[in-house]
Amino acid sequence: MTLQAKETLVGVFILAGLAALVWLTLFVGNWAAITGGAGYRVTAKFENIGGLTVKSPVTLAGVTIGRVSSIASDREDYSAIVTLSIDQDYNNLPVDSTAAILTAGLLGAQYIGVVPGAEIDYLKEGDSIDITQSALVLEQLIGELLFSRAGAQ
């Protein structure tokens, strides 16, 4: 093989490799972690978030409308403060909407389900969802079940 042919092949190879890298970064992946996603953030307080993690989905009637962007603990009342990052497309959530931590299937991953309220004003950046329902923790449920059984007997 002549040197020139080799150089051409090397050129093709490098360009193809770079194209693959560009495709992976631009098309396959998303930049949400850097840009924070094009959307707005609202907070919600929960007694107990169970197994909820950052990046867990936020759904509305089963449709994913955003993700959990951070989780913190409140220093005063020891509850959990969850920040939800919601896509700009869904900026029509009433301010009295409620959020619940749900479980996909019996033992699946946990996510936040939003149920819209009836107010005319919409949630916007920095608002908080006041009515929340904490995660169902299976161990607590079983414990309660056993206690109530024992009480009944």
Binding site: V10, G17, A20, L24, G29, A32
Partner: protein, 257 residues
Amino acid sequence: MVRGLGRAGIAAIHHTGRGGMFLASLVGGMGMMVRRPRLLVQQIHAVGVMTLPIILVAGLFVGMMLGLQGFNTLVGFGAESSLGLAVGLFLTRELGPVLTALLFAGRAGSALTAEIGLMRATQQLDAMEMMAVDPLPRVVVPRFLAGVIVMPLLAALFSVVGLFGGYLVGAVLLGVDGGTFWSSMHEGVDVVHDVLAGVFKSFVFGFVVTWVAVFEGYSATPTTDGVSRATTRAVVTGSLAVLGLDYVLTAIMFSEV
């Protein structure tokens, strides 16, 4: 027995130390590449272009396997719409960088060790020294640099081909919606934590595998037997280093996102 272990341990440490010194002198010899880019192009051809077919074929099959296994597992939870996400995460985070590095160690790494080892055994390196040409920048540095440059490119191509393999099986054969496949992938795969972390991994792997390969070749006992043992050692050490480092890097980069 104990003494034998001790001696082997000291020998291993000694070998590692020599490898480190060798790496330092490699870095020292890199200036030459600016003046002689042709040497580098030749080696990118030998190391990268020649490894490409095996990478592409392997990537396609691994992607197809992921499509099939992923579908069979996810369909049990009714979550086959996440197939694209599963395939995308597996390939960009783990399988792309790791399998590419392992295949690279077997194909290009062994070839590098054997080539340099044979140059040592047939006194070609000695002849260069006697012709007042330092074989390190002339022979070893271009091969080392080529390996470092080529590995992330190969891994990216592996992942891309694998994604299409997964799409082929998942969407075309098993009937997952094609749009859902790509959108679930785009939704869940993060550029920084998944794609770029994978690229970083493959860069580290390329560095280590090529370093081990050229060092084993350069320090091979100058006999046929010595070269064959050095080649085996290069592949074994390179592969184990990849798997070990993969754990360490994964633990550092993916642990608490």
